[in-house]
């Protein structure tokens, strides 16, 4: 560990893009380590990320976006990092906007969300996705009391307090969005949204596509309905990944 901050980039089949993202992040001069979680990609994602200067943790098989993030959080906690930044590997998130996340954390926020909708409309997306985003943004805003416009944003910054919370094994393995934000609020963490610029993906496939959009809606509604009464963790011992002996 050479810096108190780590940038976590979950990546699956992102060869051809992840290297550029890592290099751009390191070139910012923000004093951060870059960690790429390769979620079992069959291509050269790991090699490319390593070559660009990132530390790589590679899942032995594909576990899902949420799992990749969770592994990154666990790595950060185990290695003693004080802050976590996270962004996508597909070039959608503009690396220069990482400064805004850092500034948000400097202001005392525990969770900083980079929103594509605070300034402008963001890159084009399907009607179903736009409607879903509006619905869950409304739910998140009502529940947390904080104006949230982009609950599906994976461009975030977390304080050490937030990090200690998200390493729980109950962290969602597929879509960690509104439910996680509500959970942050329930744990008393301070949430802040900052405007960021996002672009269309440089390639690859989105995890919000086709029938998955319908499943996303169902899953999020069920999770939110059960959230107040649900057991915190599926295994008896919490944080089994983060607290390896």
């Amino acid at each position: 560990m050479s810096s108190p901050t780590v940038l976590v980039i979950p990546a699956y089949r992102e060869a051809g893009r992840v290297g550029g993202v890592v290099r751009a992040a390191l070139a910012l001069g923000l004093d951060l380590d870059v960690l790429v979680i390769d979620d079992g990609s069959p291509d050269l994602t790991s090699a490319e990320a390593k070559h660009a200067g990132a530390t790589v943790v590679r899942h032995p098989y594909n576990l899902g976006y949420g799992c990749a993030l969770h592994t990154g959080y666990c790595y950060a906690l185990r290695r003693g990092y004080q802050r976590v930044l996270q962004m996508d590997a597909d070039g959608q998130h503009e690396t220069a906007m990482l400064r805004r996340l850092v500034e948000g954390l400097d202001q005392g926020a525990d969770v900083v969300i980079g929103s594509r909708y605070l300034e402008g409309q963001g890159p084009p997306s399907s009607l179903a996705r736009r409607l879903g985003t509006r619905l869950f943004a409304w739910v998140a805003t009502r529940w947390t009391g904080v104006r949230i416009t982009d609950p599906t944003s994976g461009f975030q910054g977390l304080s050490h307090r937030a990090l200690a919370s998200v390493v729980n094994d109950g962290f969602p393995e597929d879509y960690p969005d509104t439910d996680v934000l509500v959970e942050h609020h329930r744990r008393g963490l301070r949430i802040l949204e900052v405007p960021v610029r996002m672009h269309a993906r440089l390639g690859g496939t989105s995890m919000h596509r086709g029938a998955r959009v319908a499943y996303y809606g169902y899953k999020m509604i069920v999770t939110l309905l059960l959230l107040p009464v649900r057991r915190a963790t599926p295994l008896r011992a919490p944080d089994t990944v983060a607290r390896l002996s």
């Binding site: 590679r58 032995p60 969770h70 089994t240």
Partner: protein, 152 residues
């Protein structure tokens, strides 16, 4: 209350299971037990998954053997004939079985996820420790074949 009362009082004359159907049900139950034991013997089925099938087969055999029990059960569930009760029981059994498998699958999925994550983190840690050890060894003065330890 009316429902509970109707469960206790006899409802008309239920047709008993014909002899041929009793025989077929008994043969199926016996065959199922033999098949389950054979699968366990070949280690293609674990004991922990076999007991549900064995109990079902025994239940089927008991119902086929004791007509009165099957007729009472038919009366309880409001079935018009005994064969429907057997089918109803089979459907319930399959539902319970699928639900049990879904629960087990969810648990296994979580364990599989945790295992994959821990393996990934340990692999990274092992590689880092190897690199650190290699760096430390590079810093140590090289020992040549002719060098001797000085003894006072």
């Amino acid at each position: 209350m009316t429902i509970f009362a109707s469960m206790i009082t006899p409802q008309g004359n239920l047709e008993p299971l014909p002899e041929r159907q009793r025989f077929v049900a008994f043969v199926i139950a016996a065959g199922l037990v033999v098949l389950i034991f054979e699968l366990v013997r070949r280690r293609k089925l674990r004991e922990e998954y076999s007991w549900v099938w064995v109990i079902t087969a025994i239940g089927l055999a008991v119902l086929a053997w004791h007509q009165d029990l099957l007729l009472t059960l038919s009366q309880w569930v409001g079935s018009s004939n005994a064969v429907s009760t057997l089918f109803f029981g089979a459907l319930l059994f399959l539902l319970a079985l699928v639900l049990q498998y879904s629960v087990r699958l969810s648990r296994l999925t979580h364990r599989h996820r945790t295992l994959g994550q821990r393996l990934a983190l340990l692999e990274e840690e092992m590689q880092r420790l190897r690199r650190e050890r290699a760096r430390e060894q590079d810093k140590l003065p090289q020992r040549l074949p002719g060098d001797r330890d000085e003894v006072a």
